[in-house]
């Protein structure tokens, strides 16, 4: 294989794929990018993978000699970054199959290669369902839920995000067992697809990065064990978590008629200040709600205390409860309305936080027993 690529185009493609490359690999070849020329002899596809998530990015290049190779990912990325703007970079698999040379201007590099045929590509995902989704919708859904995913929980299915298609809704749900984030968007479900899948944490995080410069809509394909999405020149494939996600309908409390509305920015600032003097591990703060007033108090093991008073609109006569303040901050940060509505059933049941004018995004937080 021998190709010449324009530095900025190559750097962009490498940047799209480098995120999946782990710092420490289970297989040495997973530290490399897979490079392969396309049959049209005008493009090269770059693949990065950690066996769970695979990213592919295609770019236009000059193909001198078709073929495939693998190149140490972090090193080729750093080399491209360090070369001058506008450089033309030539990558060539040497006769000695164990070396790849990279050259541009007056710089030359010889890198160690591993055989391309040993690269573990995820091949031929058989589509069970295909659909198209608006990029902006997916960005919002992930942004409003992904933070609530567990990480390294023994209930492995919580270390991911539920994506659900149902009637005319597309929905994302994530939970770590203490709080749950749910967001949905209207969806033209012409094929009447009903599907629930769990995307692993890493897949979600990489997908979020890709969406930043994705075209207006993206094509999604769901297979038995994989999800893949095509975003222009980039394709994303992730394994799915095989497990049953908790039924979020059972978690969303009913008969919540104790309501309190607050200014989001004021609340955010007050929560942030209260968090400074709260217990580091549990981040507990106390809530005391009385007509038109919310008093937030925090204290830490050193017996230092804080008190914040917030004006609120509420019909609650009196309610005392407590929360992990970080959960509250996550919840209100996910909302883009000016006001936020807290709804309670009682002091010990879960609380729903949302935009007062919309139920598209609901944040459910379990109180702390303080």
């Amino acid at each position: 294989m021998k190709i010449t690529a324009q530095r900025e185009t190559l750097l962009h493609a490498l940047g799209q794929t480098i995120g999946v490359i782990e710092r420490k690999q289970t297989l040495p070849i997973l530290g490399n990018f897979f490079f392969s020329t396309e049959p049209d002899n005008q493009h090269v596809t770059i693949v990065g993978s950690d066996l769970e998530v695979e990213m592919r990015s295609a770019l236009a290049v000059e193909v001198h000699e078709p073929g495939a190779t693998t190149i140490p990912a972090r090193k080729i990325f750093d080399i491209c970054k360090a070369l001058p703007d506008g450089s033309l970079i030539t990558i060539q698999q040497n006769d000695d199959a164990s070396k790849v040379s990279v050259s541009a201007n007056r710089s030359r590099f010889s890198l160690a290669s591993l055989p391309a045929k040993e690269y573990p590509l995820i091949e031929g995902v058989q589509a069970v369902n295909r659909f198209e989704v608006k990029t902006d919708d997916l960005i919002r859904l992930l942004q409003q839920t992904a933070f609530a995913m567990a990480s390294q929980d023994v209930r492995y299915f919580l270390n991911g995000l539920l994506l659900e298609l149902d009637d005319n809704k597309i929905r994302c749900v994530a939970t770590d067992g203490h709080r749950l984030a749910l967001a949905e968007a209207d969806f033209e479900n012409t094929k009447n697809i009903k599907h629930r899948i769990i995307i692993p944490r890493k897949g979600v995080i990489e997908l979020q990065k890709l969406l930043k410069d994705a075209p207006e809509t993206i094509q999604v394909k769901i297979g038995r064990n994989h999800i893949s999405a095509t975003l222009g020149q980039t394709a994303f494939t992730s394994k799915l978590i095989d497990g049953s996600f908790p039924d979020y309908n059972l978690v969303i409390p009913l008969d919540i008629n104790l309501n309190m509305e607050v200014d989001k920015e004021q609340a955010r600032a007050a929560f942030l200040r209260a968090s400074i003097l709260s217990n580091e591990q549990y981040k507990g703060v106390k809530f005391k709600i009385s007509p038109n007033k919310l008093v937030i108090t925090g204290h830490n093991p050193e017996h230092e205390t804080s008190e914040e008073e917030l004006p609120v609109e509420t019909d609650i006569a009196e309610l005392g409860t407590g929360f992990n303040v970080n959960y509250l901050l996550d919840a209100i940060n996910s909302l883009d309305s000016e006001k936020v509505l807290f709804s309670f059933k009682d002091a010990t049941s879960s609380c729903v936080i949302r935009d007062p004018d919309s139920v598209q995004c609901r944040q459910i937080v379990m109180p702390l027993r303080l």
Binding site: H178, L180, L250, V251, Q281, Y282, G284, S350, P367, R369
Partner: protein, 355 residues
């Protein structure tokens, strides 16, 4: 809050287990006796009578060694239920003088009598009265130390032992400390004493001259405490409701367990014993929740290792897995196995689950 105005009494029973045994069998009076494990195996001396101490026997010494030092030593098995019953009655006497009693072990306690009106508020008289009450009720003697803090009270109770007491008034603290050898400081054992001796320090007067920074360099966090103690300062309160942070059982075997399966068999026996104790504890403290489990192994070469894992579940399998981990580190015959749990800190917030 406390400083020189506090009045602390430290009461320490004289050779408690041995004295109880003598009381039960007066024929033993004045004879060298030791309570503890079997001298044929690896038993150690739990307590010994003053007659036995004259042979150089002390607690924690192996019983076999004690028997070498004094062939006529009378070895008695530990009768824990009896000692517990006696201890409970003694502790009850303390509580007649103050509610602020901190038991250290069955035979030792700190009393904060700062706010006690007994004996017209005289701590010295209270200590005398307590010792008299113990003697009248149990025919056992105790020693007492009276001082402005726990550290000094503990040093004082040892001063005129057995059956004596010493008072250190706030005014006497300065002079007392200057003459005190550093080896008398609780927590300064052979190793620290030797380290201090290397620095040319034998008395607290010398210790007082050492800059705090130097002490911290040599002794880490203990340096700060040494500095405080050298001036006779100790702010630790008497804590009447000590929270149990862990519960464990352990056993040294008469002969080493040569293999992992042999260890597992012993583990099973210890596990049942542990469960019994844990049940009793949880019955009294139903709110305690288990934070982690641990296994302790001491190998034939006296190297000790521990393995622990977080989790609430305490099946035999959990400990068995830890035993395997710990054992595989040395793969040598094992002389001691211990197992136990640590409890989660109390009064912490609790995050309930959504589902």
């Amino acid at each position: 809050m406390q400083n020189s105005r506090r009045k602390i009494i430290h009461i320490d029973m004289d050779s408690f287990y041995a004295s109880v045994e003598v009381r039960e069998n007066p024929a033993l009076a004045g004879k060298p006796i030791a309570v503890g494990g079997n001298p044929q195996g690896r038993g150690v001396v739990a307590t010994c009578s003053y007659a036995a101490r004259r042979f150089g026997i002390h607690s924690a010494m192996s019983m076999a060694r004690a028997k070498q030092l004094c062939p006529d030593l009378i070895v008695l098995p530990v009768n824990m239920p009896l000692y517990r019953a006696v201890s409970a009655r003694i502790m009850a006497i303390f509580r007649e003088f103050t509610t602020c009693v901190e038991p250290v072990s069955l035979d030792e306690a700190f009393l904060d009598v700062t706010h006690s009106d007994a004996c017209k508020g005289s701590a010295t008289r209270m200590a005398e009265a307590i010792r008299q009450r113990i003697f009248d009720g149990e025919q056992l003697t105790a020693s007492a130390g009276v001082a402005p803090n726990k550290f000094l009270a503990k040093v004082a109770s040892d001063w005129h032992k057995p059956n004596g007491q010493k008072v250190i008034t706030p005014k006497q603290v300065g002079a007392f400390m200057r003459s005190l050898p550093v080896s008398k400081i609780p927590g300064v054992g052979r190793v620290t004493a030797a380290k201090l001796a290397k620095l040319g320090i034998q008395t607290c007067a010398q210790l007082q001259q050492v800059p705090l920074l130097t002490l911290q360099q040599h002794f880490g966090a203990f340096g700060q405490r040494l500095h405080e103690l050298s001036h006779g300062r100790d702010d630790r309160p008497v804590v009447s409701h000590r929270i149990r942070k862990s519960l464990s059982v352990e056993d040294t075997f008469p002969t080493d367990m040569a293999s992992l399966p042999a260890c597992q068999e012993q583990l099973h026996r210890l596990y049942l014993e542990f469960l019994k104790r844990l049940q009793t504890h949880l019955h009294k403290h139903p709110r305690d929740s288990i934070h982690s489990r641990h296994i302790k192994l001491r190998f034939a070469d006296f190297k000790t290792t521990t393995a622990q894992s977080r989790g609430q579940h305490i099946g035999l399998a959990d400990f068995s897995a830890l035993l395997q981990t710990a054992w595989s580190r040395s793969q040598r015959p094992v002389r001691l196995i211990g197992l136990g749990v640590r409890f989660a800190p109390r009064n912490k917030p609790e995050q309930p689950r959504l589902f």
